[in-house]
Amino acid sequence: MSDFSEDLLRPRTEDDPEEMRVGSGSGMHFPWLQRLVESVATGGRKQKEFAQTTSACLSFIQEALLKHQWQRAAEYMHSYFQILEDSDSNKRQAAPEIIWKLGSEILYYHPKSSVETFSAFADRMKNIGVMNYLKISLQHALYLVHHGLLDDASRNLSQAETWRYGDKSASQEVLINLVQAYKGLLRYYTWSEKKVELSRLDQDDYAYSAASQSMLDHSWKTSTDFHSLIQVPGVWDPFVKSYVEMLEFYGDREGAREVLTNYAYDEKFPSNPNAHVYLYGFLKRGKAPREQLISVLKILYQIVPSHILMLEFHRLLRKSEREEHRKLGLEVLFGVLDFAGCTKNRTAWQYLAKCLRQTLTGNHLAWVLEQWTPRKSWWPGFHFSSFRARGDWTEDRALAHEKAFVAGTLLGRGCRYFRYISKQDHQALRKKMKRIKKLVKKYSIVNSGL
């Protein structure tokens, strides 16, 4: 009841609460009931047709966008702008963001629009309400980058960087950092272009020192741009990569290592396999000891067992002296081949074949059984079907041979794959096949009666 007394004092049309529709399920229509319920929900005022037509307009715009009818979408957009004058303050405040999203989409694709129209629209929308400024500036800059206008984008971002609005700026902190970081990224791009130029110049050339000096300036400014963003937990792959590249170029290995270890190991950051990949690459370039490389890749193995780096991981583990590393190596290989990515990877199968031979020679049948037992039910159908046999033989003979060995070892000589491959009689490969048959006879775990 308090609503009604308030209603008397303030102007009637302001601040309409949200409308509510009474669901009409079966088609039964009590017109007076519908209206009463609606008017109770809206505090005594019935739903206006303004609200109805604007929401219909919005759905027409969305439909037109889905169907790529840019002309039609622009027509409806033209009529939709009146929502900015809506007396309902909730709708009025939510309007600029909706209009920006839809309008920028239309202007991006419409054949008649140009960079000027987009820029004019972005400039207009930036200044409606304070909270949208940074977001729109960022998207505007990305649009300019997309059209190759890097300088304009850079300028835009520098302008946006200086935005502050009293206490509201705290909530937009991350956006400001993002703006700075993108500006840094653009600067990095110019820096790397200069780097390419530099590599072509002669060291004694006058231009060399000037170019390298300007590059140094750039990089210093860029590092400040990146610095604040990287502290914030998040996924910042392109920024981190560029930053590290610059640091390495100038020999600051410590700085680079710190950034990368932070990025990969700080618990506040979301789990990101790329972080570990970058760290591994960096350590490898710096010729770090094997133990360190193994520890980095172990974490990657836990996150993404199907990663292509797992093959390198296996190589490292194989060369190690510790027994648990060798066992892990076998495990890693089986893990990689669980996924479809490496089914046709010759190296993977080569490694597996060699590893099986070594393991079985070393009397570690238990290890093999431990890996094979859970996979016994589905690996034959996944890797060793006759369809696969035919495909592998036609595509890659070496692969087929390696797989045949593995199949023979794990499933016995009677398995389909082995039989198919051994039946393929080819003059040059007959010797190889004979050898494989001998080895399988020696190593097959099926024959050992377990």
């Binding site: 008397l8 004092l9 303030r10 102007p11 009637r12 049309t13 302001e14 079966s26 088609g27 039964m28 229509h29 009590f30 017109p31 007076w32 019935k46 206006k48 047709e49 303004f50 609200a51 037509t53 219909a56 307009c57 027409f60 840019w70 002309q71 622009a74 027509e75 409806y76 957009m77 033209h78 009529s79 702008f81 009146q82 900015l84 004058e85 007396s87 209009i99 309008g103 239309i106 202007l107 419409h110 008649k112 629009s113 129209t117 004019a120 629209f121 207009r124 409606i128």
Partner: protein, 403 residues
């Protein structure tokens, strides 16, 4: 009391809750007054036509204040009165007409006689043409009008003072009569109308030179296509409707600059986007017209005005009567309690043909479907008085009616 003032002298007091019995003028009220004056003059325009013209923008109602002279500044409380954000509905304006007429103590209006446009016979003719139905149906509508007593001068003339139920819904009644005639001829039970149209079709195939018999199925296809298209166009036009005026209304002098700035922003954005929009001919408004559908201009075969109703009639002795001998009532029991409406409309209770007919005609008049259904039920109540007086008895849906 808030510090918001108003541009008019008495805006603040005017918008306070009114005492019981007083009628305060509003923009819809002004529209009702216009409608009353048109009725007094017996002009050839119905309430539904008037409201349609308002929606199309030919009659100022939404943002009428834009046409006020410069000296009249509106703000504050005036905004609530003059800012219209809904199209006036038939039922609202009709109710207001009665209210205003009673308040003004108007005498009995000039008689509505048979030669007047608002007489059901003439309105029926108009709507038959607009619905692409044969002219021959006009005989039937006149008969129904006569039998239900709808054509009496006393019934039709608006008399605010008299306590009887006022009925100035001429257009709705005329359309309801047409619906009843369709039910008489074709029963509309999703069965008979299609078998009759099969008969008409075979006859038309065999006798191509004669006047074709009216084929319900063909009529349905033609009208439905046009109707769907018009409905879709209306939805699109409505979605693009511009409610806000060029002169923004604001609450107080503090808000004035904000309101004007917002308007400027909207105009600016619209200008930016108008470059993307082709200057299509749909932007230009079409001139006001009393008809929404035009069938004679189309290619041959789609105009049913000249068709004959022979397919639905047969000779019985001396007279010509309908082949269909059955009829079903739209409402069996009327509500007698204090609610405003005497019947409800639940779609699933009725045949698809009936639903289509109702939807089509209510689109024509821009009224709600249940409103038309109610009018049909009320006229049937007058026609079949005897049946209703035996309402206590258990009754089946279709009854034989002697004509």
């Amino acid at each position: 009391m808030s510090s918001v003032c108003s541009g008019s002298l008495d805006g603040v007091e005017y918008s306070l809750r009114k005492a019981k019995g007083t009628v305060k003028m509003t923009v819809p009220g002004t529209l009702a007054l216009c409608s009353l004056s048109l009725l007094w003059q017996r002009e050839a325009i119905t309430l539904s036509d008037l409201l349609r013209l308002v929606e199309e923008g030919h009659v100022p109602c939404v943002n009428a204040f834009q046409h006020f002279p410069e000296e009249m500044k509106l703000y504050g409380r005036d905004k609530g009165i003059f800012s219209v954000e809904s199209w006036p509905t038939y039922e609202d304006i009709y109710r207001k007409m009665v209210e205003v007429a009673t308040f003004l103590d108007l005498p009995r209006f000039p008689d509505i006689t048979e030669d007047c446009y608002l007489h059901p016979n003439i309105l029926c003719m108009k709507y038959l043409m607009e619905a692409n139905l044969p002219d021959e149906m006009h005989n039937f509508t006149c008969q129904v009008v006569k039998m239900a007593g709808l054509g009496e001068v006393d019934f039709l003339t608006f008399d605010p003072i008299a306590k009887k139920k006022n009925t100035v819904k001429y257009d709705v009644q005329a359309v309801a009569v047409i619906v009843i005639v369709l039910k008489l001829l074709f029963l509309l039970d999703d069965n008979l109308e299609w078998s009759l149209s099969a008969v008409a079709e075979t006859h038309n195939e065999e006798n191509k030179e004669d006047k074709p018999w009216f084929d319900f199925r063909k009529w349905y296809h033609v009208v439905k296509k046009s109707f769907d298209e018009k409905k879709r166009k209306l939805e699109e036009t409505r979605a693009k409707y511009v409610w806000k005026s060029e002169k923004p209304l604001y609450h107080s002098s503090i808000d004035r600059s904000v309101a004007y700035k917002r308007r400027e922003m909207v105009v600016n954005l619209q200008k930016q986007f108008s470059m993307l929009v082709d200057s299509t001919p749909t932007v230009t408004r079409k001139s006001p017209s009393s008809f929404q559908f035009n069938w004679t201009g189309d290619a041959d075969g789609t105009c049913f005005h000249g068709h004959s109703l022979q397919g639905a009639l047969e000779k019985r002795g001396q007279s010509l009567t309908t082949r269909n001998a059955l009829y079903w009532l739209s409402t069996q029991r009327f509500c007698r309690s204090y609610c405003k409406h005497v019947t409800t409309y639940e779609e699933s209770n009725f045949s698809l043909s009936y639903q289509f007919i109702l939807n089509f005609f209510s689109f024509l008049l821009r009224i709600n479907v249940y409103f038309l259904h109610e009018e049909v039920s009320l006229i049937e109540k007058r026609l079949f008085k005897t049946k209703y007086s035996k309402a206590k008895k258990k009754s089946s849906r279709s009854r034989k009616v002697r004509k």
